[in-house]
Symmetry: none
Subunit: 413 residues, 2 copies
């Protein structure tokens, strides 16, 4: 079964609001083995909706649409669907009964604007909406079954589960699509692509693809088929990737880097303290976003000014004077000092130039020194990160968390 | 000019990742008077990309595409565009020169997979990418000019601004759509909607709409027409909104809350220090993301554990024992202590329960105490924030920044 997902709304097509429904619906469809061809987002006028439905109806077996089923005049999915089907709107007995019982439960009568919601294209079926006035609609355009759902998030989610997915699953065989995601840190995409070139050949089963964000690369492995066979296929690829990329793979179940680090800290009952300059609190904020970190993150210090590095962290003033605040001796002193002051097992530190100003020929914008200190010593590295201020800080924070991760998975003597 | 926005990627079409580029691009296009017909999200195979480009090229004047320009085999936007144009791929002199200088700066040579990125459809023009290996591509399919940009967020944003919008604006007539955004903090959407009901009537010019995120509500006012007339229309609405909402409006030019706060700190040459518990570094991280904050943010302390509150901030242990860590006396002590220790003009602090665990009937998950301290005294407030862990922390950070903003704009004696 092939599907097209359709989102309807002026606020979506103009970008004033982010469409999250299409991704949610696509994931749900993919999970039951449906092949999602594309998403479309269109304006809420009947002509645009009609055109989108006709285009999709000529290409696919299934159309899942959201939005435009409300009571106001700018809600015209009903009209667009009727035009695409070449039929008129007529009062639907089930839909008007729903509106009447809804109004009665609130001691009201059905308003004129709500009454519009009971007019469905002739030959369509109303889909119940237990938590709102807008019924869904099941119709057909071209070769495709069309499900229309309201755009209100809670109503959409409930109707998707109870009406749409329930019907599709009942009609579907035991065929599923499963995605396994291996997240990596520390390899450029071109190198990673070369190491996995044989897996990424177009048309191979499973399909292997990559996506980059925040300096990290996710490897998605997709396969469709019978559940047991698919599980074997994915595990075989995951093993190959794990073998080739080693400790570059930090998660296999969708965890964020900070969740992996938090898990390792918990497993080793280890504690950490952070002294941040260029990341300005971002490393601590990421760790704190994992529940239960209060036992492991002893303290964070945002020592953004030189004064704070000296007074709060006890970095010697002459170190900063002779080497500059963005230097190996200073980042080492920061990591060691925050570890010593708190008694943590690990001390993390960073200092760098996020830009847009402050760069020099020897220390261009993006230069970041990062350090991890523990009982065995202190390791410091320099990276020159390209990107704007926010990106430099995001990547530096991830880099530092990954340094801690690598320390935590090292075999201990 | 009519445009279609195209996002390319299997991770997008299957819903594994949320497409945020289409909305960002649509907003930018609408702002310069371009009519966005629809967005499409398609799979990263050459056939799907070719079909989408042909479909769009037959309907529109402009196609803005993102994704599929990376070095790996699943990046096939170049192939899809070549097929839609009916031409072959050939080595582009500008693109290969860019890759060579990129590799040289890193002491490497151009890898085989990166080399693929320099093959563009014949007759296309490379668009420079100063922060990545993927050049953009400018081509033509049917009646439409086609801009292809990389999907990597920072690279896309920069190329959109520097290459795409700059060219489109230069070519545009004197007809514009202007969006004026007034950002507000501290009013529920229903109250705000009632206060602006007469402005938000459908069909009114300018169009006034709202969008909610991170506990803040943006009011978008948009009008199309000749620049001078549009400017007058928008200014008239902005004045009405300003009068009705007063200091709830914190920005009118797209600034983030932390940028407004940083501007106020700079104007008053004031300094601040932050003691964060529930926000775990997020407040400092937001402030540090504004360039030049090192003079104003004296220090941040992430005192997530009780021990750290006592040892580092000098909060009396009996305060925590008798009132709990999430309490008014503790948040006051934190704000006063961090201000005193650093000599800052303002001390900020927060402590709360982000969840999912740790709530109780008297202090449910989402309970957050926040305080601002200065020479005139300390103000503490409690909010119970609904939402998941990340949302509670994001809203608390914004709430605390807004408390500081309100202090900074108070008339001084």
């Amino acid at each position: 079964v092939r599907a097209i997902v359709l989102s309807i709304g002026k606020e979506l097509v103009t970008g004033l609001r982010l469409d999250t429904h299409s991704a949610d619906i696509a994931r749900a469809l993919v999970a039951i083995g449906i092949n999602v061809l594309r998403h479309e987002t269109v304006d809420d006028n009947a002509g645009a909706i009609e055109a989108a439905l006709r285009r999709a109806g000529a290409e696919t077996d299934l159309i899942i649409a959201t939005g435009g089923l409300g009571p106001t005049l700018d809600d015209c999915t009903r009209d667009g669907l009727a035009q695409a089907m070449g039929v008129s709107l007529e009062l639907d007995a089930e839909a008007i009964a729903h509106l009447e019982s809804w109004a009665k439960a609130r001691g009201r009568t059905v308003s004129e604007s709500n009454r519009r919601q009971a007019y469905l294209p002739r030959g369509c079926q109303a889909l119940p909406n237990p938590i709102g006035t807008a019924c869904g609609i099941l119709g057909r355009v071209g070769g495709a079954q069309v499900y229309c759902m309201p755009g209100v998030p809670g109503e959409m989610a409930l109707m998707l589960r109870q009406e749409v997915l329930a019907r599709l699953q009942a009609a579907a065989p035991g065929y599923v699509t499963v995605v396994r995601t291996l997240r990596t840190f520390g390899l450029p995409e071109s190198i990673l692509g070369e190491q996995l070139a044989d897996l990424m050949v177009i048309g191979r089963r499973p399909h292997v693809g990559t996506a980059v964000h925040g300096g990290m690369i996710d490897i998605h492995v997709y396969a469709a088929g019978q559940p047991a066979e698919v599980a074997d296929l994915l595990e075989a690829d995951a093993q190959i990737i794990r073998q080739r990329l080693g400790d570059k793979v930090f998660a296999e179940d969708g965890q964020e880097l900070e969740e992996v680090v938090a898990g390792l800290l918990a497993a080793r009952r280890a504690t950490v303290a952070v002294a941040e300059s260029v990341t300005g609190g971002l490393v601590a904020a990421k760790l704190v976003n994992v529940p239960g970190m209060s036992e492991h993150l002893l303290e964070g210090v945002v020592a953004y000014s030189n004064e704070s590095k000296v007074r709060r962290l006890g970095v010697a003033e002459e170190l900063i004077e002779s080497h500059g605040a963005v230097s190996e001796p200073v980042v080492r002193a920061m990591a060691e000092s925050v570890r010593r002051a708190t008694g943590a097992d690990f001390g993390l530190a960073d200092t760098g130039i996020a830009g847009p100003d402050g760069g020099s020929p020897e220390k261009p914008v993006g230069t970041v020194w990062m350090a991890v200190s523990d009982a065995r010593g202190t390791e410091a590295v320099k990276e020159v990160i390209t990107g704007d201020r926010a990106l430099v800080r995001e990547r530096a924070a991830n880099y530092l968390l990954n340094m801690l991760r690598l320390r935590l998975i090292e075999p201990r003597p």
